[in-house]
Symmetry: D2
Subunit: 321 residues, 4 copies
Amino acid sequence: MLAPESCRDLAHLGHVEMFTPKPEASLAFFVDVMGMTESGRDGDSVYLRGWDDYEFHTLKLTASSTSGVGHVAFRTASRQALDRRVAELTAMGAGIGWTDGDLGHGPAFRARGPDGHAFELYYDTRWYEAPPDLKPALKNQAQRFPARGVNARRIDHLNLLVLDVTATRHFLERGLGMRLTEQIMLDDGTEAGAWLTATNKTYDIAFTKDHTGTAGRFHHVTYAVDSREDVLRAADVFLEHGVFIETGPHKHAVQQTFFLYVYEPGGNRVEIANAGARLMLAPDWKPIVWTQTERMKGQAWGLQTVKSFHTHGTPPVEDHD
Amino acid sequence: MLAPESCRDLAHLGHVEMFTPKPEASLAFFVDVMGMTESGRDGDSVYLRGWDDYEFHTLKLTASSTSGVGHVAFRTASRQALDRRVAELTAMGAGIGWTDGDLGHGPAFRARGPDGHAFELYYDTRWYEAPPDLKPALKNQAQRFPARGVNARRIDHLNLLVLDVTATRHFLERGLGMRLTEQIMLDDGTEAGAWLTATNKTYDIAFTKDHTGTAGRFHHVTYAVDSREDVLRAADVFLEHGVFIETGPHKHAVQQTFFLYVYEPGGNRVEIANAGARLMLAPDWKPIVWTQTERMKGQAWGLQTVKSFHTHGTPPVEDHD
Amino acid sequence: MLAPESCRDLAHLGHVEMFTPKPEASLAFFVDVMGMTESGRDGDSVYLRGWDDYEFHTLKLTASSTSGVGHVAFRTASRQALDRRVAELTAMGAGIGWTDGDLGHGPAFRARGPDGHAFELYYDTRWYEAPPDLKPALKNQAQRFPARGVNARRIDHLNLLVLDVTATRHFLERGLGMRLTEQIMLDDGTEAGAWLTATNKTYDIAFTKDHTGTAGRFHHVTYAVDSREDVLRAADVFLEHGVFIETGPHKHAVQQTFFLYVYEPGGNRVEIANAGARLMLAPDWKPIVWTQTERMKGQAWGLQTVKSFHTHGTPPVEDHD
Amino acid sequence: MLAPESCRDLAHLGHVEMFTPKPEASLAFFVDVMGMTESGRDGDSVYLRGWDDYEFHTLKLTASSTSGVGHVAFRTASRQALDRRVAELTAMGAGIGWTDGDLGHGPAFRARGPDGHAFELYYDTRWYEAPPDLKPALKNQAQRFPARGVNARRIDHLNLLVLDVTATRHFLERGLGMRLTEQIMLDDGTEAGAWLTATNKTYDIAFTKDHTGTAGRFHHVTYAVDSREDVLRAADVFLEHGVFIETGPHKHAVQQTFFLYVYEPGGNRVEIANAGARLMLAPDWKPIVWTQTERMKGQAWGLQTVKSFHTHGTPPVEDHD
């Protein structure tokens, strides 16, 4: 008997809505330090993008009383794919309902994950149109290379903290049709972390267990640059701007990502990584399972994971940050 | 009315069979200079791979009376996808029939393109299993990083010379379900080149018009490395080994690939590129059309295209090489 | 008998005074595109520097009726060294006399080279003091990394066009105590180019024959960045800003410099290079002599030298630019 | 009154003699993993070099009962300079006497530092002559680029552990004419580390206090590569070969070196760094003094110094390794 075909309904991660209690400082961070571009404003939100993001925005920065994630949005591969996902999410009882979209895209269907995180799916989108002073020299590029700060190229993935890793994984596999590529299984049989993809990137979303026992928190959003040297240069830039570097640059054993984690002024963790070098081309990839013993070896070149990596999330939890 | 959903039946470029009249020298080139690994031999063929290729091989080097391409193979996303493609190719009258596969994969369906090139599709494949001395330190990697020569990472794409660009494009779009991402349209309305993808890479195959009027020729196969610096280092390595560098390193305007072209001892052109940085995530990408005037500007930073790029192909054509 | 000890009287290249007929556009180029910092103004001149230059300035940009070089200045290793050089230059009949210096340094002795170029030597200098907003995070760095445009790090070398290469070489060897590291000797026995150093860099000044038969012209000034990737990124930045790229990025055979040549708005050629990787540590280096045949092979990886490289200099010469 | 002129009698660090109790494994490490070349053997010693080292050798690997450093050698700028240094060292009472040299150089004068380390000075040297299979493509290069393992380019500096940092600094300043560029001064007024140069590199030797109270130990020898990316690639290579990575890659605050420390099979620490980007051109550089508080901030991007960095030296000291 033939195995069922894998789902390809999601096209890619669309954007993340990030809450910040310090909207002006956060905006300055993303524009001046990260080198991103503001493409619009609406109410309490500012829309931002990397120079190679083809859509109107990939980050919606919303002023709020605290930090954390508002919602996570994926673009589907087609309207038909969107309909299939809505049907599945509704059947699972996870559907919340349709929104009219925002400045960056059309109608979106909202669903709630097992940990309370809000996910949105949409197909109709707004392609970014560069104003004259941001027109690129090459017509196959969305926007002029900024040559400013970190020069964040495009949104790469996001990472959530969850109480039940397996439940969130099942939600994303069944509800969104994503595919598991790597995971951490502890000696007691519980799943401590999972990395899933909807594309040829090795992951578009990851989530690990929240050691503080709090639901619905945000771990980080990642912007890609071209090379490991670009990540090192980003570290130089963060140093010059007094941005707190939590850990890195170093190479993860899991997914082999060359990472660098900082906290933006609102408290949210942001990662710079070179996620493009490694691709996931096999349609029948067998997930890599990391054991507790393997993870205790630290990162690829031996750096131990910093404690805050397991506790710092947003919004903050008293006694843990 | 809804637009039809785009086809996702191909998973990725599988391998290229390259003919060489100098099998020993060509093999030494791919192993010692390119840093590839031999994974098997069968008759007149040697199977080769980059360290990050997950399959048994991505290059089948076959001793022959002359140079050129034997066949080009794509892996499908599933057995069902393979069946659909076979039905379509057969309906188009392009089907040749099934082969038993070779050391690297199972049954494959062969079809002939408009220019006479042989294409194969297969799903059942052989995952590479590294022998003890080539086991990687990280379990999510196919093979140990060789740290030898160019360190070719994985097959990236191939390029063919064709008499009728549009006919070949239609064949790949309809028969294989590939998607056009960029093309060159001359002032007289003829299509001079096209770049198509089956993945989130911006292209998996490209083809340009053969100025010699010869059918069925091969332009080059490309192996990816991680960064532009890796391409520069490859140029240093080729220089030290006396390998003929045709042009580059430089940046293409089309697709923005950072390229380097050399001729292997058998005469076939081989490219080293950093194709991973730029991804094609939009499911509804509108192809970029380059005009004749735009192409006359040369490459991205102004380098003029060398004349041999339009005439040198394999097998060679008298008076053109 | 012991060989005489080599002279170490020059400490390093100090600065270049560049003439420009388009002072505003040239200034915008050096600040916005090259990422340099203005450190002062005086009359028709603006003083500029790279972020790692320790002195007040390394480029003096002076408004003028045409382009070209005003003077070239070297800092000596000590006051005693300055006195020795003044004595030697005076004995050679090349001395012009003392100037009071300018915003960037104290008294300087001016001499004229065989081709009419003005050279200045000084010891007393003004160390750059970064204003609060340009203070670096690390105290062993002159100025904050700008993260803007090309991020030119420090002045590296300059290149002149001369009518008599040998005469200029003798002047620099005897008058300034510089050491020859590489040269080009034509089949007819004439010297076509020479590269001299005063430091552990492989060259601080170079000069080639002016094919237009004009005396006293300027070929280019070079600013260093850290890596070859930085040079490639500079090419991306120049492309986005519409700056004319004459040739490169590519690797010179001579000195193995990874080069990129552009024209600033005033018409002067500017080079971006990664000159730091290779050092000249041997105190008794035997100069490398390149023959005419060797030079006809082109650059390291085969790129042919563009014709304008032998004719374009500043100020421009009619019928040659 | 004029300040005295600074001494330029040393040309550069020549080589380090390293003791190893595992000569075969150490040799395999330097050749296969570091990518160095064996240039000769003599008794219990093997002579090794990086591809850009112009001399016969820069590492003398000597089989011994334990690990550590045999001697450290500097080449002088001339025979006269050698004579001046011998006179000074003799006047200081530090001279031991002349040796006949070894395979790599002529007569050398040996002196003993305050901590018991052996230093040698020589001028007559043996230039490396590449055998046919190691001839480079470009004639201004000592040896063909190996494209193997780490591809160590050239010896950069060495680091010693000493009981009295100030005494060793005074010895090197007066006896060898080296110049202090950076140092660490603790709150109690004692000097914890010093970095000295004899060239335009920012340091050729460094030494920090030995926390175990043992005299004459070796901390590490450093080989330079071209870029930070090369250091990262070295980490990948060490990982694949099972070489113990002590710390890094990361950026030092002191000297801004991008570092990576490993232990070779004999137990000696070896560093890979990109020391070429930053140069020390000022002849009157004012040493940077780091305070205890500043050093407690960790490395440039926040990494804390690993404990073993202050205790692991060779030969090993019981209870400290």
